[in-house]
């Protein structure tokens, strides 16, 4: 057990190895073929597809890797179905982001350095992959910082843009502060338990000798770091500013992939650290004196309410989508707050569909912004007549984000409500339902602007065939999963398990 076997690494760490190798390949390629931007895009895509395939191949495997010290049977990384699912989500969204980058107008100028961009993007992805299977507080902290540091730079990637550098500065100040608070919480948790491994912490917390006040304080501090990553209220203040100022592909990436990785960390932290057992009916039991369910429910209700209510009076579509992503973080957090296997399933289904619909919405907004140069809601006026295909696609994404049938967003919400009712959480379910109604207002506002408002100017918004094809490739899964969702749910059911439970 105590030895690291190269074979083990290769069989369980393939996606990470591909991405880490990819960083070097891209850096070298950038030196050799700096002028050939297409070749660099292509190399990045190949590496990502290889990583995705290898993540698919390790489906269903469960193992610890990297043991710290002899006789220690808890590894630093836990490869299990849940982490594999989050890896699939993050790698797949990175593939989509590469396609965003190719078509983005913000990244067309001579100033855009594609090699550096992909190096940072891959750094971020590597952070997410390690975060989703990190079982040790050291790995969790370091990979969280790898993820954050790369994303700070990516947020400010447009050199000479006031908005982009402001987004970057705000991100780095909020991010560094919250990770500093999280680190202090981790140091207290280490002092209380004498170990940094989540699985070992689990066994120590069973004993009644732990001081619950100090423990609660340290967990609260760690939650600040996690809440920052998933942008849950009240740790969300960076989200609208950073999302609005960052280049659009980076915004889309932050809203899906880094959130998914944050949720993976949250789930592992709660389930491994503080759940004593999983009951026969699929409900998770907390330790005595340690009931955080109410805390999670309050956070999620605050997230969805604040996100939806503030989105109502936004005039910038990118900023509106930022608030909507806070609200969606609230829905997903509520699914986890049920603390049952059904809640986990609801979360996995939700995030899979959320990836398609949110990235699709950002892509459609990007196609408009490419031509208009901004994302104000007035830029969308008359889009239904100028470019009916684009307007149709965006409408589908927005309807799906609201959660109206026959779109995938409805299935996500359906499973969320099933899990909530199964857990006898009627009040949260009612509030989530009311929030869905509120969110309808601002999503439909964009659709109304596209079809019912006359355009202020005659500028045409043209899109190439490839761009439209790609957008409809994102529309298709939303419509298909909206009607024929059994395969998706069956697929997600395979990934509910976490190592050790």
């Amino acid at each position: 057990m105590g030895n690291i076997i190269i074979n083990d690494l290769w069989s369980f760490l393939k996606p990470e190895i591909f991405i880490a190798g990819g960083i070097f390949i891209i850096l070298l390629a950038d030196l050799v073929i700096r002028d050939n931007r297409k070749a660099i895009h292509f190399t990045a895509l190949i590496i990502l597809i290889a990583a995705f395939a290898s993540a698919l191949l390790q489906m269903g495997t469960e193992s610890f890797i990297f043991y710290l010290g002899k006789g220690n049977n808890h590894g630093l990384l836990a490869v299990d179905p849940m982490s594999t699912f989050i890896k699939l989500i993050t790698i797949f969204s990175t593939i989509l982001i590469v396609i965003f980058t190719i078509t983005s107008e913000e990244f067309k100028g001579s100033k855009f350095k594609s090699g550096e961009f992909y190096t940072l993007l891959f750094g971020m992805l590597l952070g997410m992959l390690l975060l989703s299977s990190g079982a040790d507080l050291i790995i969790i902290y370091v990979s969280l910082e790898l993820l954050s540091l790369s994303s700070y730079v990516l947020a400010g990637f447009i050199a000479g843009s006031n908005r982009s550098s402001e987004a970057s500065l705000k991100y780095v100040i909020y991010g560094a502060t919250s990770s500093g608070i999280m680190l202090f919480g981790i140091s207290i948790l280490y002092g209380l338990t004498g170990t940094t491994n989540l699985y070992a912490i689990h066994t120590i917390l069973v004993s009644p000798h732990v001081n619950y006040l100090t423990l609660g304080l340290s967990i609260l501090m760690i939650f600040i770091g996690i809440g920052f990553k998933i942008s849950a209220v009240p740790f969300h203040f960076w989200t609208p500013d950073v999302y609005e100022g960052s280049p659009l592909p980076v915004t889309a990436y932050l809203s899906v992939a880094s959130k998914a990785a944050g949720f993976a960390l949250l789930i592992r932290f709660i389930k491994v650290g503080f759940i004593s057992s999983v009951g026969t009916n699929g409900f998770w039991n907390f330790y005595e004196n340690f009931d955080w369910q109410l805390f999670l429910i309050i956070l999620s209700i605050a997230s969805m309410t604040v996100g939806n209510l503030t989105a109502l009076w936004q005039n910038n579509v990118k900023r509106m989508l930022a608030y909507s992503s806070i609200a969606h973080a609230g829905y997903m957090l509520l699914a986890i707050a049920v603390l049952s296997e059904k809640g986990m399933l609801a979360f996995l289904v939700y995030i899979a569909i959320y990836m398609f619909m949110n990235l699709g919405a950002f892509y459609a907004v990007m196609l408009v912004a490419n031509k208009k140069g901004n994302e104000e809601i007035s830029s969308f006026a008359g889009l239904g007549y100028k470019n009916p295909y684009l307007a149709f696609g965006l409408s589908i994404f927005l309807i799906s984000l609201t959660g109206i049938p026959p779109t995938g967003g409805f299935i996500g919400k359906l499973y969320l409500f099933i899990a909530l009712l199964d857990g006898d959480m009627y009040w949260p379910a009612l509030i989530a339902l009311l929030n869905t109604v509120i969110s309808l207002y601002y999503y439909v506002r964009i659709i109304k602007e596209m079809y019912l408002t006359k355009a202020l100017d005659d500028t045409t918004i043209e899109t190439s065939k490839t761009e439209l094809t790609f957008m409809f490739a994102l529309v298709a899964p939303i419509l298909v999963f909206g009607i024929y969702f059994t395969p998706l749910v069956n697929f997600c059911t395979n990934f509910v398990r976490i190592l050790g439970f």
């Binding site: 910082e145 006031n162 500093g180 202090f184 140091s187 280490y190 002092g191």
Partner: protein, 102 residues
């Protein structure tokens, strides 16, 4: 030989952490804000080392090495971003960096 009790280290590090948080909240110069963040990280380091020596367990000290590396990387990225914003706006006062509001 009598060693210093662990409480002293913990009080010192809690004090350092509070100074760091206060600095982040009240100072307006981006560079001073970063210095305060470093203070927060270092207070966590002090706690880790103190516990590590108290518990006779080396993991805390290993952790500190990682934290120091991360802190250096964070300072490098932070200063690079401050330089980027200074080139655009000729100020590092975070009250004047306010394009985005509500």
């Amino acid at each position: 030989m009598n060693s210093i009790p662990i409480e002293y280290y913990l009080i010192l590090s809690a004090f350092m952490f509070s100074i760091g948080v206060t600095g982040v909240l009240i100072r307006r110069n981006a560079i001073v804000v970063f210095m305060s963040i470093e203070l927060m990280l270092n207070s966590a380091n002090l706690t880790l080392v103190a516990f590590s020596s108290y518990l006779g367990n080396p993991i805390g000290q290993v952790f500190v090495f990682f934290v120091m590396t991360v802190a250096a990387a964070e300072a490098a990225v932070g200063l690079a971003i401050i330089i980027a914003i200074f080139r655009n706006k000729l100020t590092v006062n975070i009250d004047e960096i306010n394009i985005f509001k509500w």
